[in-house]
């Protein structure tokens, strides 16, 4: 689904990764590993199209991403470090906007997604009155709403309690079983009931000629 060919990225005259190649197929869960500062977030931002300082090819369904930007954007969901939740708006308003820029409206699904995150009764409370973990859950509720087939998640477990962590792990495994794919970074020990592929940015890679 998403193939990366000989990806090379330098930042501040330091090579973050070089000759990085992998292919994410439907039904797979990939974990991106690496020490702090090894370029995990940079790689994810490159993959989802926020960062363009790289060399190499990124292919989506076998075609270069540049040639089919709209299809690519519709197929990928990115969850970054920042929650993309406006604190003055309520969870319902935030998620409505998220759905709208994804091209649809579905209040029933939003309510269900919020309830699933344990936020029943908080739909109309401005997000600044919610705790950090609850704000994270509002942000994660978007996973259930997104029509994208590939999830790119940057440290999705931050600020979650252990029930939230377990629920998210189940959600990731379910996404892979349902024919989607997930690429995530975390320093947390993943307990998934599905196979896990790994990319390690610290490991020295063989350079192919």
């Amino acid at each position: 689904m998403l193939s990366v060919n000989a990806l090379h990225c330098e930042r501040d005259e330091r090579v973050l990764f070089s000759d990085l190649s992998f292919t994410i197929k439907l039904g797979e869960v990939w974990q991106l590993q690496g020490a702090n500062g090894s370029g995990k977030t940079t790689l994810l931002r490159i993959l989802c199209g926020l960062n363009h300082d790289y060399e190499g090819d990124i292919l989506w369904q076998g075609e270069p991403v540049r040639r089919q930007v709209e299809e690519f954007r519709a197929g990928v969901f990115y969850l970054g470090h920042s929650p993309a939740i406006n604190k003055t708006l309520t969870p319902l308003q935030n998620l409505r906007w998220f759905c709208a820029v994804s091209g649809f409206a579905d209040d029933a699904a939003i309510m269900a997604a919020l309830a699933e995150q344990g936020l029943r009764g908080y739909e109309e409370v401005p997000c600044r009155h919610l705790s950090a973990g609850q704000q994270r859950r509002v942000s994660l509720a978007r996973l259930a709403l997104s029509p994208a087939s590939l999830w790119i998640l940057d440290e999705p477990f931050t600020a979650l309690d252990r029930f939230g962590v377990a629920a998210l792990e189940r959600q990731v495994a379910a996404k892979a079983r349902a024919g989607g794919a997930v690429l995530l970074t975390t320093h947390h020990q993943l307990r998934l009931d599905c196979e896990l592929q790994r990319i390690d940015l610290d490991a020295p890679r063989e350079t192919r000629a």
Binding site: R73, S82, S102
Partner: protein, 229 residues
């Protein structure tokens, strides 16, 4: 299934109402530039000569310059919050046309920051002893000019949003671009005061607005992509 496709227009309306809601929930972002507008203009009769003949001579320039500064002051809130909380990334990554979403966002912003300036201007014109014949050209000018200024300010804001507090930089970047609007806008009032027809200047301000409407969203989009990189 309750899920239904919104289409581009529904999606744009969501961005527009979101902008209105956020501003409405942060009234300081609307009220501060307005207060600045009113107070700065009302200081001129106090600090300078309070002779009505003198005041009516400088009125057009004072109202226009202060409106320009108030618009720039209000721009701070346009992308700052979305940049900080990551909503901007989501907008840039959405499959929707960015051009129209930016236009919807700027339109929402102008409705609550630019339009009140237009509506308040007759009050300030009265304070500066501007003859009543000049109220119409002042308001028409501001009605056509403030959206242009908002669009130009949004380009500067998009460029500086990644730099933290870029207020002064914003002014340096954007003020030269806004000079034509200022010249034609203030000139319109002077022309009307001289008893001459000012429709040509209305057309010029309209043309500048159309130019800004068609080109500014492209520049804002490109600037945001650079800022977010």
């Amino acid at each position: 299934m309750s899920r239904y496709s919104l289409g581009v227009f529904g999606s744009l309306r969501a961005t527009f109402t979101r902008e209105l809601l956020i501003l409405w929930r942060n009234p300081g972002d609307i009220v501060n530039p307005l207060m600045f507008f009113v107070i700065a203009v009302s200081l001129f009769p106090l600090g300078g000569d309070s002779d009505p003949a003198y005041l009516s001579g400088i009125a057009a320039g004072v109202v226009w310059v202060t409106a320009l500064l108030a618009v720039m002051l209000s721009m701070e809130s346009l992308f700052r919050g979305d940049y900080e909380d990551g909503s901007l990334e989501q907008l840039l990554l959405s499959p929707q046309p960015l051009y129209f979403h930016l236009l919807a966002k700027v339109a929402g912003h102008w409705l609550l920051s630019g339009l009140p300036l237009v509506l308040l201007s007759p009050l300030l014109a009265l304070m500066l002893a501007l003859p009543q014949d000049a109220y119409a050209p002042l308001m028409i000018g501001l009605l056509l000019g403030t959206p242009t200024l908002t669009l130009i300010g949004a380009i500067g804001m998009a460029l500086t949003v990644g730099l933290g507090r870029g207020g002064l930089l914003l002014a340096v970047l954007v003020l030269p671009l806004s000079i034509p609007v200022l010249v034609f806008g203030a000139g319109m009032v002077q022309t009307a005061l001289a008893g001459l027809p000012y429709t040509g200047l209305v057309a010029l301000l309209g043309a500048l607005l159309v130019l800004a409407l068609s080109l500014a969203p492209l520049a804002i989009g490109a600037a945001l992509r650079i800022s977010i990189n």
